[in-house]
Symmetry: C2
Subunit: 155 residues, 2 copies
Amino acid sequence: MELSEDLTTDPKALSSGNVSKLFRHLGNFDWNHVTPVEYKSEEQSWLSVSRRVFTGETGETPQFHVRYFEIGQNGYSTLEQHEHEHVVVVMRGKGQAIMGEKRVELGFGDVLYVAPNEVHQFSNSQEEPFGFLCVVNAERDRPRPVEIGEGSSCF
Amino acid sequence: MELSEDLTTDPKALSSGNVSKLFRHLGNFDWNHVTPVEYKSEEQSWLSVSRRVFTGETGETPQFHVRYFEIGQNGYSTLEQHEHEHVVVVMRGKGQAIMGEKRVELGFGDVLYVAPNEVHQFSNSQEEPFGFLCVVNAERDRPRPVEIGEGSSCF
């Protein structure tokens, strides 16, 4: 069996269905066959966040989506809550997470389970981007932004 | 808001429910609050594989499970197929995957989507363990071992 560099380069297969795919890490947290997209269209509640979706928006059928988020220096995600859960795995750099009334430092390999309706936010104060995988249910509720002073005794 | 070292150390909360949890990476691909378990009880079809389950077996309710597998030098997983899909993300070392009639080298950050019923197997020829996350549907069919000569023209 010959060694292959890729599993498929057929754009149709890559974007439309249950075809095995390899998203090759090209170094520096960039990947083949996936491009960064806007974190959210709304721009008030977050800063310097990019999103890559490996599986979930290109025809695959699992009940979960696997995404990679990256937060630049002094960036932060929306302070929000939702019914669906997150499983986050840190791949790059260091960052912080607000989780309800707690705040934790995160680094490579840390795995964070965000329970339903936990108020949460991710941020990065370092020069190195803070990058993490985030797995969610394919069918999920919309995040609800949380105002400071709401939802937690800490704000 | 004070910085916390952990989110909960309550064993009951950790093992029974939708409570936010931090599986701290302790270095060397070992984590707080999770212990390696046997890959499979059947021992004929695989060698030198360990499994850690972060979420899915301790009361959380997402529709997916997040596990970490590690394959030691000259080890391999079962050559198998199943209806459910895998999303694999390499965290440690290098390895190989048989994917149907193809064979690919995998290294840090590579993301592999294994389509339904793809015949697949992971292996490691290096001294450094080959470690990867593997995300699956919470409800899934049992893997079916594939005999060499069956299921693919390559065997």
